[in-house]
Amino acid sequence: MSQSAMKKQALSRFLILAAVLALAAFSNNPYVINLLVVCGLYALPAIGLSLLMGYTGQISLGQSAFVGVGAYGSVLLAQHLQLDPWYSLALATALSAFTAWSLGWLVFRLKGHHLAMATLAIALILHTVLVEWRSVTGGPDGISAIDPISIAGYALLDDLHFLPLAWLVCYAGLCLADYLVRSPFGLAMRTVSENEAVARSLGIDAAQVKRKVMALSGAYAGLGGALYAHWIGYISPEPFSVAFSIKLLLIVALGGVSGVWNVLFGVFIVVIVSEWLKPLGRLDVVIYGLLLIVVMIYCRQGAVAALAGLYRKLPQRLRPGARAGLKLQGRTSA
């Protein structure tokens, strides 16, 4: 795709997104607005995981841990060093990226199932630490009275005010990730994903690529976690358990690897499904697991690609505008 076309696409996406959010804001339905904030905050760690798993081919069940590092990191830094949440946000993001990068040295000795198990262990260990290290994390009760983020002295206390910030960050995250996968480094990521031996034979340091993407993915997760903490004002270990990792896995699997923006599709589906599953309590993980299996078996390229495929199978006359279908199909090169 040419440069100008890319810019046009980015602009149109921004406008559509802004329109949707504005519509939701004017509806003044607190439930919808709350869900949209949740979507924006879910999207950040999901983008990171999409880069790591979708584009670099490294499975991770530990993404929830880095969200946790970001959330607790930012809150603890803000409380103990009396930092403004903006600074603690940035520091926590860096901390989470660094943690991910360090763990990359360890876990990327492994591949496939072993990598999945090692990252699962990371998530379990972090969750246990959050629960048990009462003096610092407050144990299962967590930490409350977290300072909200404020802009120019104006605290973003309610959902409606937080909504633009969450989605602005999310939009920036999506754009950066989108640029990255279309860049030379994105090619290196995809090469590593498909065949590490080939990547190395072409001079690509596969181990380094994996660690860098892991760090970036940790940064996305950490930022998402930190924003979440300052938005909700109270954190406990529960949201950062392995179940959250599985949700993120499902989001990425639903979105597929044909574009970073498809992550949003996965996010909306999973957040809506989560609402439906609320009456089930903690049993909802079972449903996520089943959904994940279904997606992995029937739409390996992601639900977006599967839907696009179904759409193309429709007879021409039933398609509202066949050109849109072609756009969905076109995967960009240069």
Binding site: L187, E194, R200, L202
Partner: protein
């Protein structure tokens, strides 16, 4: 001809005294040779000679125990593959390994990324520096695709390419790293003649563009038409090197390919009636793997109590034939009948119960299990067929049968009885092969198929194993033997088939084929330019 042969040759790559040991196997010992700037060098040798290991040593994937590799005077030994590549040397892989999720041009662009040296930051900041680097990569990739003749397919998905085009793409991708030395691993394996010619033309164009080429190949016709010099490996040592014309006449090279093991076969010939109904019959069997046609419609028969051997160069379709019979791969066309019944649609495990057993290539034992357990696994499908409960505790009948089969096998291989509780991984190569055959015999097959039983064995051990086969045949078992050591296989076999490029090119009794001077040529496919001119004159 080429400029390199008229000027003083400049050494580009120098391999000295390289030795590699994998467990009990000496894969390479004291290998030394050089590659000269601007030449096309062929590396040949029979299966298991150590060619792939040598390539892995040169490209940094395997660290040698001893010896060194210098490239343009720079020491490469001990450097990881990505660093070796940045020194200016690139290798391809046997199966081309195209990146199937990318387009053709993206495959080649990926090769330029490392040299570009833009990291994550460069990628994230691309909205600032409007994508010039991607455009540059795209132009570079198109140039390379043009060189191998794939420019028209640049924006196609790579997985749509035919096998021949995939090899060309692998070469173009390798060139995308701007390496000065290109090493191709079996670029022509499994290709049709037309595809081989296109590949050879592309390799010549690549050389003309200033890149030195070395390639590993089994198709010696292809090798002799392309390479100026040859290096021949056998059992991990260099047995010949020099100009192609000289090396291809070296009797040692021919012997390395055909084997020279002489057997003492104590068995009355002609014990099998030529009119007896065949136990196994293949009719116009075709096997395809994706775009590759491995078997192009072969006919083959094996009768009870007969030893039949299937010989041919690597990639001729020998293993595919065995896989088709044992049900590990599907026939695209044609039919196989066994014991009067068609095998079509019968799953692999059911075929074992029907009386077909395979001792696979490379033995495939379970190294952590004892010899007894390895043998027991060969009886699994029968125990399972006797009822699910038998898996937990075999019933009396099933247990008796297992014991009887075990006794038979141990009678046949007394050496295994001595080592019955030893871990299979601690056995010698010959004993391991005995376990592999014994495991196949545990199912009391009517047809025993052996895939390269002599692979990796010393000549004495090969002899020992192959000389056992007539005793099996005397018990009424039909033996289908795939063997690289054609010389030995033909001595032990009643009949033989010669495969080349997925078709049977010769067929006859073992003795006939052994005596026929044509087999060696058909098998190896040497092409001597001067012979061509003689015919013309």
């Amino acid at each position: 001809m080429n400029t390199a042969s008229t000027n003083t040759p400049v050494t580009m790559l120098e391999v000295e005294g390289v030795s590699v040991r994998f467990g009990g196997l000496q894969a390479l010992s004291e290998v030394g040779f050089d590659i000269r700037q601007g030449e096309i060098l062929g590396l040949i040798g029979p299966n298991g000679a150590g060619k792939s290991t040598l390539l892995n040593v040169i490209s940094g994937f395997v660290r040698p125990d001893r010896g060194s590799v210098h490239f343009d005077g720079e020491l490469l030994t001990g450097r990881p593959p990505e660093s070796v590549n940045r020194a200016g040397l690139v290798r391809t892989f046997q199966a081309a390994e195209v990146l199937a999720g990318m387009t053709v041009v993206e495959n080649v662009m990926a090769a330029g990324v490392a040299r570009l040296g833009e990291g994550v930051a460069g990628g994230l900041a691309r909205f600032v520096r409007a994508g010039q680097s991607m455009a540059a990569l795209y132009r570079m990739a198109c140039d390379k695709l043009d060189l191998v003749g794939l420019a028209a397919l640049a924006n196609q998905p790579a997985q749509m390419l035919t096998a021949g085009q995939q090899r060309l793409l692998a070469a173009a991708r390798a060139l995308g790293t701007e390496a000065r030395l290109l090493i191709l691993d079996e670029p022509a394996a499994g290709l049709t003649n037309d595809e081989k010619m296109m590949l050879a033309a592309a390799i010549r164009r690549i050389r003309a563009s200033g890149v030195t080429v070395m390639f590993v190949e089994h198709d010696l016709a292809f090798v002799s038409s392309l390479a100026e010099r040859l290096v021949v490996l056998d059992h991990g040592t260099v047995i010949a090197k020099g100009e192609t014309r000289k090396v291809s006449r070296d009797p040692q090279v021919l012997a390395a390919y055909l084997g020279e093991t002489d057997l003492v076969v104590a068995r009355g010939r002609g014990g099998v009636s030529a009119t007896a109904a065949p136990l196994l019959k293949l009719e116009r069997a075709v096997v395809r793997y994706g775009a590759l046609q491995a078997l192009g419609g072969i006919d083959l028969e094996v009768r009870a109590g007969e030893i039949v051997t299937l010989i041919g160069a690597n990639g001729a379709g020998k293993s595919s034939t065995l896989k088709a019979i044992s049900g590990l791969c599907k026939l695209s066309a044609g039919a196989i009948t066994f014991d009067g019944k068609p095998l079509h649609g019968l799953a692999a495990e059911r075929r074992i119960a029907a009386g077909i057993a395979l001792a696979p290539e490379g033995r495939q034992l379970f190294p952590m299990l004892t010899v007894r357990d390895n043998l027991m696994i060969g009886r699994f499908s029968h125990i399972r067929a006797a009822g699910f409960g038998n898996l937990f505790r075999p019933g009396a009948a099933a247990a008796r049968e297992v014991e009887a089969a075990m006794r038979e096998v141990l009678d046949f291989f007394p050496r295994l009885a001595e080592r019955i509780d030893q871990q299979a991984g601690t056995l010698s190569g010959g004993e391991g092969q005995m376990v592999a055959i014994g495991r196949a015999l545990m199912s009391r097959p009517k047809l025993l198929m052996l895939d390269e039983p002599s692979f990796g064995l010393a000549p004495r051990v090969t002899r020992e194993i192959l000389e056992l086969l007539p005793r099996l045949a005397e018990r009424g078992i039909a033996v289908l033997l795939v063997e690289q050591n054609a010389h030995a296989a033909l001595q032990v076999a009643d009949r033989g088939y010669v495969l080349a490029n997925g078709a049977i090119v010769a067929h006859g009794s073992g003795e006939e084929l052994l005596q026929s001077s044509h087999v060696g040529e058909a098998y190896l496919g040497w092409q001597h330019e001067d012979e061509g001119t003689e015919v013309a004159a």
